[in-house]
Amino acid sequence: MSVLKAIVRLLLVATLAALTPLHAAETNTLARIGAQLEQHAVIRAEFTQRKQMAAMKRPLLTSGRLVLSRQHGVLWQIEQPLRISYVLGEERIVEIGADGARRERGVRDVPGLAQVSRVFRAMLGADSAALREQFDAAAHGDPAQWEIILTPRNAQLAQFLTRLQLSGGRFVSDISIVEAGGDTTQINFHHTQGSNALSDTELQLFGVDQTPSAKPAGTR
């Protein structure tokens, strides 16, 4: 089971828990981590993902590239063992096959998808405010070297997920997901870089109309 699949499930589950205040110090740490990631309009990284599933004889290994644009959303490009890309935007989700064929879906058509987009970005960008809507968060370390452990806030969520763990420094470097059924997923990010703007190829994948007069620049 993939990272996001777990999260989609979580999001489909309505939470009943009331907001529980974090310790001031932790709130502070989380806010600072979020702030340093927010400096960049675009973040690019390479990822390797290792999924351990009960149904599989051996772990499923995937690698590829991630582009996180604060303006346009997330581009998740799997390069190994097959080529397939996913664009997760505010309004729609696009699956792009190896042959370039696009399968689009409006996020409004599918329950919970709009929030997936927000939380997925929140997770990759360590946006604590968005994550705390669904999870209890515990933070350790300082902005140079930190770790956040997220646990679902109610039993409904806990049916699917035991723990979500993010760690990193300037950027998120590792994500670990432990599902209630025992499946686990580890994602490692490397060669992460901040940038101001998307390349033309990336804009094209995001489905952004590139007219010379109105070439979208990165925010801030």
Partner: protein, 784 residues
Amino acid sequence: MNALRLRAGLWLLLALGVLIAGATQFAGGRVRLQTNLLALLPPTERNPLAEQAVTRLADAAGDRVVFLIGQRSPSAAAAAARQFAQQLRQSGIFRQVVAEIPAFDPKQLTALYQPYRFNLLSEEDRVELSSGQVDLAGRLQRKLYAPFRFGLALAVADDPFGLADDWLASLPLKNLRLAPQDGLLVTRGAGQSWVFVSAELPGSAYESAIQRQVGQAVAQAESAVHDLDREASVLRSGTVFYAAAARASAEREVDLIGAGSLIGMLALLYLVFRSLRPLALGLLSVGFGIAAALVATVWVFGQIHLITLVFGASLIGEAIDYAVQYFAAHLGAGADWEAQAGLRRIAPGLTLALATSLLGYGALLLAPFPALSQIAWFALVGLSAAWLSVFLLLPALLASPNRRDPQTAVALPQHLLRWWQTHLTRRRCVALAALLLVLAAPGWLQLQGNDDVRLLVARPPALVAQEEQIRELTGMGNSSQFFLIDGNTAEALLANAEKLAGRLDALVAQGELTGYQSLSTFVPSAQRQVQNRALWLQKVFADPAELRRVLADAGLRDEIADQQLASFDAAQNSRLTLADWLQAPISTPYRHLWLGPNENGFAAVVLPQGVRDVTRLGDAAASLADVTLVDKAGNVSRLFRSYRQWGAGWLLAALALVYGLLCLRYGPRQGAVVLTPTLLAIALALGVLGYLKAPLTLFNMMGLMLVLGVGVNYAIFLREGGVRAAATLAGVLLSAGTTLLSFGLLAFSSMPALAGFGLTLLIGVGIAVLLAPMVLSFSAQENA
């Protein structure tokens, strides 16, 4: 004298009877002010089941109120919404207040469908599986590698190819823009986060007690939210708010029109007669008329609709006419007055006038339309009672001659009359008539019909704007059309719904619809389930060796293929039934689609959403035997249109009838003369309506019928006045003044139907009275 006393005694008895009847009705709690628009509309559906479904859906929707609480910050919006809901709950009025949504358990959904997964296929997959070979390996890869799932998903071991996932994703669980977040339903828009709160009324939205309590509770909750957070805003929508607003504005209008007519009438009466006695007698006669009308209406209809009440207030101006004629005769006679002789002299005119009015309203009484027949009945009884008062009561109470000098009292009308007689010769009258018709003609060409059912409701713009905004933010439709599906058995019903669904899918693809809710999208018919299973067998399980190879190649454990094959065989005879689905908790939000058993079998509704063109819906239902498109609003509009056309025909027939009556008394030539001013008034009123760009509605046609009824009266009174013409003209002017005042006030009603009705009368009666003296030009010269 004795005869007079006897009559007055009879009147007293009648008045006492009306009083007692009214008191018993009131004490028995039977005087219900009805504010429900549906109660006014005629049955439009040939199929009684459809009419029943309309009422049921309207009730279900009417008992609910919906709020959106907005704030820029999502957490502040959530806090404000919780506070709002808490306040509503504390008021103790609502049967239920929902803000926190019950946890939606996806396992309930997957548990319901998983055992039947080999009978289920999404429409897209059904097409894919039936059209060719399926790329099972590709589907498995997509399931394994997708970083996220499009909605609910089964485990890889249970659904390796994502076919069941696709079925779950195709369920229309999410036609709204609302999404669960932190235990609340939230949507975003206009730079704010909006939280959805709904509440269920303890009874009908049309009950005044409920309207008042709900209004108070909502106002309190709103102020509590504002105390908590100045920036939070509250949007509301619900039948109860419209009904309360309609009631409040109707009550305001009854007060305004009633008080305005009364005060104006009394002032005019005093101005002309300079005595308090006509005032008191006029009030008695009108009061008796209105009271009798109220009692008779409640007696016949069991309730009174607020549209009738507002109309009734304006009837005051018309009911006074008979008494005014009597007073005028009294004034004109001066010292020669003798009650019985005087009455005898004006009696034919009064009775003829009543007869013409009764003809006008009588036509409405025959219409199979509760709103019109109630108004007509009210007017018939009210006018007859007012007329009767003149005969029974007035001679006894106004027996002594008038002390005022008739000459000074009628100086102004006398002056007017002379002016008319010197300036308007026959030839000039004809020329004037021709000129007016020429002026009116371009207006006729600009007349445009309007048959919208909303003519009957006052829709406060503030409420409409909030409802629009809520619709925009939540994506909740408000289309009033739906399909009624019949079937001898539940299976037949589902099969019929599937046939319709196929056509509706095509409309969705063309952008004619945004979607629809149908039982068949949650439960396929048994026949469809058998077809689906055949496709699964053919394309997935036909070759177990191939299946094993695909799963093994992707790295799945060997036993998974065996499990799949075993589950498929085990599920061979299991079918998902409508009963299974109805018992599952997840069906709760969709139960309104199911109408249950009836004498012919079973019925259900299919609700289209985001309809662009209703005729396309009609096309979709056409040629499907057990599918009916029910379009109540459309049918009512069509009915309004046919009544409007029928009304035009009736107006012509009524003109002929009235002419017949006039001929009986005046002969064909003078009859035509008496009718002419009214005929001109109707023609000119139509022209003016055209110039004003006022829509021509059924209610304008009703107004024209009354212009006929009332306008002819003036001509009759003047024609009957004879030697005392000046006094009669004073009476006619007075009558017209009171009528114009009350119907003129009606023109400002917030109910478009009544406003149009009032406007038509204002114009028509105004012109009729101005032209009425024409009668004298012709009759005077003929008599001379």
